[in-house]
């Protein structure tokens, strides 16, 4: 179906490209982006993507708040982030152009759908003049096409209404971009055929639009050449799929519960950007998963603790404001020493803040934000696919140590995607739970070698006992106000959490074993840091990098590693929270905090700039 014509045009190889598709919420930019992603993955590129949803549910058509974007970074070498500045901006209307243009790389390509630049369109976008004519686009390579018109022409014979015809615009555009980047049409053709199987007229129209867009490029109407981004040869062999962080985390929790031999009970209350975890798990009923949308975040965690008490793997998922509400119950979970996985998909604050923007500023809240001494392990995922592994790790720690565990991700991980090399299930190490059933010598607060107390399901004869939030006597678990016992129990709880350290690896250092600077990151900064440090290392800068996935307790061996570098840089999306923890734990090193609190990720460039600055000083 896809004719390989037009090959006489110059074909330029590129190592990697960043494209941003932007249009009105109704323009189908997310589908376009996802199709481009799937096709690129299929041809073997490494990639990373990030959608940019409008904050409003449905802002009025054509307005700036209504702009929806999708950015994809694909390459023939390793791709670490969805990209800093796009090489190509596809703008379906004036609002999309106005909102996104400033991000475009100097000299970048901007594809504009001129069909949407009428006076009324400009007005909706709050533009006084058309940017097409006022010099705004100077310095860019502008491809102006009236896509509305093109689609109309291409689908002249379609039985679809004029309005429905216009809804095929995104596939026409996609086709053109496929041509420009030499991608095959088949995957999308097939997808369309399946997707609209019940409506053949839609299949036909969209396929036609796609092909027509492709041809439009092909017949040199607009481009001086086309590009090719060859398959990435550094991707380890295996089966891959593209995945976003939220679903990866959901799958990780599924895997974790299976490895523990338990069923999941998720108590949750919807909140952006964590709700999707609830949505996902509520579809897994035939996996024995019980989900409950509770009346609020407090009820959600309490129900989950209740479920854990019965022998389920209790979980709850929320974002910062919801976590704030859970802290009292988290303290109870510490006191009663039951397993629990608490997910915090962070977003920008304080308070309601900017719910759709990225931030990592719940770290201190998670590590320290509870009344009295209530220690619990805190983990953080560093890429969308790492969410899977962190999900498993959280389950492991929760059940092995009989403790609540916090998992931190963020907006950027939750919605960003990357190719995920699927694990071989048989390689995943099980950590099956054994419930205590033997009444002989049973003590509710005795401890195993890890410091964990026995887990008993209510209903087990002979092991009846009571637990609660009052201080408990060592071993018996009876209420106890004794001074020495309180200190003992405080220490036992503390030591148990610290002992998790024995079960986690020291993180790998990438780069020189010692040197001028070590960049220490955590969470979703991984991609940006990797990109920046890798490039500088190629320039022989004396800089290494290390990424933390276990935030509390911190892994063993850090002190020694830190001592091998003159300085340590800690970039993070907050005012320096991890830097504070590191300073308080490892006093003798010199930590530079590099805060960014803009609700958006680091660019490789700004990180490189910062690092170079420190290296030079």
């Amino acid at each position: 179906m896809t004719r390989e014509i037009g090959t006489e045009l110059p074909l330029q190889q590129q190592e990697s490209v960043v494209i941003r598709f932007a249009g009105d919420s109704g323009d189908g930019m997310q589908i376009t982006g996802n199709q481009f992603t799937g096709t690129s993955a299929g041809v073997g590129n490494d990639l990373a993507t990030l959608p940019d949803f409008p904050a409003e549910i449905r802002a009025p058509a054509g307005t700036r708040p209504g702009v929806s974007g999708f950015q994809i970074h694909f390459g023939s070498s390793e791709v670490h982030t969805p990209g800093d500045a796009p090489d190509v901006l596809v703008a379906m209307n004036p609002a999309a152009l106005a909102v996104n243009l400033s991000d475009l790389k100097p000299g970048g390509i901007v594809v504009v759908n001129t069909g949407n630049f009428k006076e009324t369109d400009l007005k909706k976008a709050k533009l006084e003049r058309s940017p097409l004519g006022d010099g705004s686009l100077e310095g860019f390579r502008v491809i102006s096409i009236d896509i509305n018109e093109r689609v109309k022409k291409a689908l002249e014979d379609s039985p679809l209404s004029a309005k429905d015809v216009q809804r095929c615009k995104n596939f026409w555009t996609l086709g053109m971009m496929y041509w420009l980047y030499s991608r095959p049409l088949e995957p999308t053709m097939n997808w369309l055929a399946t997707k609209f199987a019940k409506r053949p007229e839609l299949v036909e129209a969209n396929q036609k639009a796609l092909q027509s867009g492709f041809n439009a490029g092909d017949i040199h109407e607009m481009f001086q050449g086309r590009y090719e981004v060859p398959a990435c040869d550094v991707m380890p062999p295996g089966t891959y799929r593209n995945i976003m962080g939220n679903p990866a985390l959901g799958l990780g929790l599924m895997a974790g519960s299976e490895l523990a031999g338990l069923d999941i009970f998720l108590g949750a209350y919807p909140i952006t950007p964590a709700s999707d975890i609830l949505h996902q798990l509520s579809g897994y009923k035939h996996y024995g998963v019980v989900t409950m949308q509770a009346e609020d975040e407090i009820a959600a965690i309490c129900a989950a603790i209740g479920a854990s008490y019965t022998g389920y793997l209790g979980m709850t998922a929320t974002s910062g404001p919801g976590l704030a509400l859970k802290t009292e119950a988290m303290g109870l979970a510490v006191a009663v020493e039951l397993p629990l996985v608490i997910i915090d998909v962070q977003r920008a604050g304080p308070s309601t803040g900017m719910p759709t923007k990225v931030e990592q500023a719940d770290l201190l809240q998670c590590v320290f934000g509870r009344n009295s001494e209530a220690p619990m392990p805190v983990l953080a995922a560093s890429t969308p696919s790492d969410c899977f592994d962190i999900g498993i790790e959280a389950c492991r720690i929760a059940v092995q140590y009989m403790t609540p565990v916090v998992v931190l991700t963020d907006n950027y991980l939750a919605n960003g995607s990357e190719p995920w090399r699927l694990p071989k299930l048989e390689d995943l190490e099980p950590f099956e739970v054994e419930f205590r059933t033997d009444p002989e010598g049973y003590q509710p607060y005795s401890r195993d070698e890890k410091g964990a107390r026995p887990w008993v399901k209510p209903g087990t004869p002979g092991l009846e006992h009571r637990i609660g939030g009052l201080e408990k006597e060592h071993l018996t678990g009876n209420i106890c106000y004794d001074a020495d016992n309180h200190e003992l129990m405080t220490n036992l709880r503390h030591n148990k959490v610290m002992a998790v350290r024995d079960s986690i690896p020291t993180p790998e250092v990438f780069g020189p074993e010692s040197g001028d600077l070590l960049v220490v990151g955590w969470g979703s900064t991984l991609g940006a840091i990797t990109g920046a440090v890798d490039r500088l290392q190629k320039k022989d800068a004396s800089v290494g990098r290390m990424h933390l996935r276990h935030l509390w307790p911190l892994p063993a061996g850090l002190d020694e590693i830190f001592s091998r570098y003159k300085a340590i840089l800690v970039p993070e999306y907050n005012m320096g929270q991890m830097a504070r923890i590191l300073r308080s734990e490892y006093q003798s090193h010199s930590f530079h905090s590099y805060p960014k609190v803009q609700g958006k990720p680091f660019t490789t460039t700004e990180l490189m700039h910062k690092i170079t600055g420190i290296l030079e000083s």
């Binding site: 089966t239 108590g267 019980v290 009346e295 129900a303 209740g306 002979g462 009846e464």
Partner: protein
């Protein structure tokens, strides 16, 4: 799974009971021991859940599984417990502060969902454990530590709140009538769904005699009416008085003219009216069974969905989830 019955002693835990001497809680505990023992439920299958308050110490004293949680949240814990394991007989002990002040939301939601949890709300119209502040059930004008000039807020009627939330079982019982408590607790146990029982409970220390006007031996027969399914609504020292409902009014009539009480009506409006007799000093206060209807039980339907999905699709395999959507190979 009926099995040889327990004795009260089987249900006594080894923990010393630490309520104030003379506290109404003792009587409730004793009534509960007796009632639970008769249910034919194994003691390891009971789970007593509570929040914080004097009343919430209850679980420690029952030799079964127990969870003394945090203030006001017991219904949420109980919902999790019961939904995760519907084999358990889940009971909740709470107070007027725990259950209706900080915990009001969880209370109305557990009732709405009709989770099969049996709730005993110890209403002493005061905060006992924190030493005597007024509660959302204290009458207007109540002088307490936090209201030295008398409280100004209108109290909740706990049964009205429960009915407004859609409760399927609503009853009231006084802590000075062991037999009545025992019967009420057993009725609650027999109900399929969430049972809400308000217990008039005397706090000897901070609100002594709060219910004396209603339930003191000398007046109780005149000031309370025991609503029983299928029985005429009669009361009085000589059982010579009765109630009749006419046009949304409750009328005092002679025993012969009394209506027969039916707690199984579809509409809760009648129960709602009777629950509020306590507003009227000339009327007897309704105790006994005000409402008992069948309705979908939350955890049954939750589990039914799990079972049906599993039956339809077979128990899910992790591999299917992970290897599900568009994958590609790199080699």
């Amino acid at each position: 799974m009926i099995q040889s019955k327990l004795t009260k002693k089987d249900l006594k835990s080894d923990q010393e009971v630490r309520w104030c001497p003379g506290c109404g809680d003792y009587a409730i505990l004793n009534a509960a021991y007796a009632a639970l023992a008769e249910l034919g439920i194994k003691k390891e299958n009971f789970v007593w859940v509570s929040g914080i308050g004097c009343s919430s110490r209850f679980p420690y004293y029952v030799d079964s599984y127990g969870f003394h949680t945090i203030h006001g949240r017991a219904p949420a814990f109980a919902t999790g417990i019961r939904t995760a394991n519907p084999e358990l007989s889940v009971w909740l002990a709470t107070g007027d502060g725990d259950g209706l002040s900080i915990g009001g939301n969880h209370m109305i939601h557990v009732l709405r969902r009709n989770v099969d949890v049996k709730i005993l709300l110890f209403n002493n119209e005061i905060y006992g454990l924190t030493k005597g502040q007024y509660s959302p059930t204290s009458p207007i004008g109540h002088r307490s530590k936090s209201t030295p000039f008398g409280s100004v807020d209108r109290p909740f009627n706990p049964l009205s709140v429960a009915l407004g939330a859609g409760a399927t079982f609503v009853a009231r019982t006084p802590d000075n009538d062991v037999k009545h408590m025992n019967q009420t607790i057993r009725q609650a146990a027999a109900h399929k769904g969430c049972a809400f029982v308000e217990v008039y409970q005397n706090c000897v220390i901070f609100n002594d005699g709060a219910f004396d006007e209603i339930y003191d031996k000398k007046v109780r027969k005149e000031r309370t009416i025991n609503l029983q399914a299928g029985q005429p609504m009669v009361y009085g020292t000589e059982m010579d008085k009765g109630l009749r409902l006419r046009e949304f009014h409750v009328e005092r009539v002679s025993a012969e003219d009394a209506d027969v009480w039916d707690p199984h009506l579809e509409s809760p409006a009648k129960a709602f009216l009777l629950a509020q007799l306590d507003q009227d000093p000339d009327m007897p206060n309704a105790i006994g069974l005000l409402r008992q209807v069948e309705a979908p039980v939350f955890e049954h339907d939750v589990r039914r969905q799990v079972d049906e999905a599993t039956e339809k699709k077979g128990r899910g395999k992790l591999a299917d989830l992970i290897y599900s959507s568009d994958t590609w190979e790199v080699d």
